[in-house]
Symmetry: C2
Subunit: 194 residues, 2 copies
């Protein structure tokens, strides 16, 4: 069953301001090749029954880092919003699978833009009706790529693949995250500078 | 001898809009720890006599990627600007050593902001009096972290360090690049969103 607010593929989504042609260029800048698609899809097989364990690690990191948990903290009461954290976590689970599916079509691009808006003050909190801070500050967006991909590595290695293939899955995830976070930055970037 | 335009530490530099306290938080978001400083400094010993070979690889990548070389291309004549490419390359050499030195003080932060402005339309082309495109588009800034760090790895491994230590140097470089590119993004980001 889809998580609340997981609107991938819905016709109500706004069209991404980034074109598929621009995304192809971004892939080349990151040395993202067809091999990466293959290894992301291999990772889908590896992670699909480990989603909750992966999210436990990621949420453990966010939860123990005060300036990150701030994005999920009630402005009125100063406490973490459990329902908001849980709603985001269910969509995060879809995000893992979407990242591993690696199908870069217009629907995927449009949903990346929706995710972008939900990190930005444009749409943050709305999906979950949360009373939290109104933006995830840009300065933490890309930094978090490192903990997310580093802590994924043991999960990628847990199904008996060769060290070389685990490294290739890891590299593909790293590149995918660099590209996705770039897409998620669009609402933060000044007009004309993207 | 310092490269033209390498103004690290000069009192004429503007103060970074990012504070050292904010940078400390950014480091925590990236799991950047004291160990990373140690491994960056170890990498300084490894790369200091390989700078030109490293830059050959990086420039080979940029030069063979048309949408990246565009940032160094004459608007009037549509050809790569050799003097501009060479000026940036000499400063790039300093950047490698500064990254490996890993001394995060106000001077370092201020020079990161100067580098930021030189990628943005605020100050691009000025240092070298170049007639090139007026901005490095945001969408390629972070993507290039992957080729830069991937191609550095064989150089890090070339002086007989253990695979584990090479990995730790690589991880430290990756985190440092995520943090530096975030600092370089400041002029691209809307007021209040950084």
């Amino acid at each position: 069953m889809n998580a609340h607010g997981y609107t991938f593929g819905q016709p109500t989504l706004a069209r991404s301001p980034v074109s598929l042609r621009e995304f192809e260029e971004m892939k080349r800048s990151a040395l993202f090749a067809d091999e990466d698609i293959r290894f992301l899809r291999l990772s889908a097989e590896v992670v699909k029954d480990q989603l909750e364990a992966i999210l436990d690690v990621w949420y453990g990191f966010i939860g123990s880092t005060p300036h990150l948990v701030a994005a999920f903290t009630s402005r009125a009461e100063g406490k973490p919003l459990v329902d908001y954290l849980e709603g985001v976590r269910r969509r995060f689970s879809h995000w893992i699978l979407d990242t591993a599916r690696a199908e870069y079509d217009q629907q995927w691009l449009d949903y990346q833009h929706e995710i972008a808006l939900r990190h930005h003050r444009t749409k943050k909190n709305r999906t979950d009706g949360a009373d939290a801070t109104d933006i995830v500050p840009f300065r933490h967006l890309f930094a978090v790529i490192f903990p997310v991909t580093l802590t994924l590595k043991p999960f990628l290695a847990s199904k008996g693949h060769s060290a070389k293939d685990v490294d290739k899955m890891y590299d593909a995830w790293l590149k995918s995250c660099l590209l996705q976070l770039t897409l998620w930055s669009h609402p933060f970037v000044k007009d004309g500078d993207f």
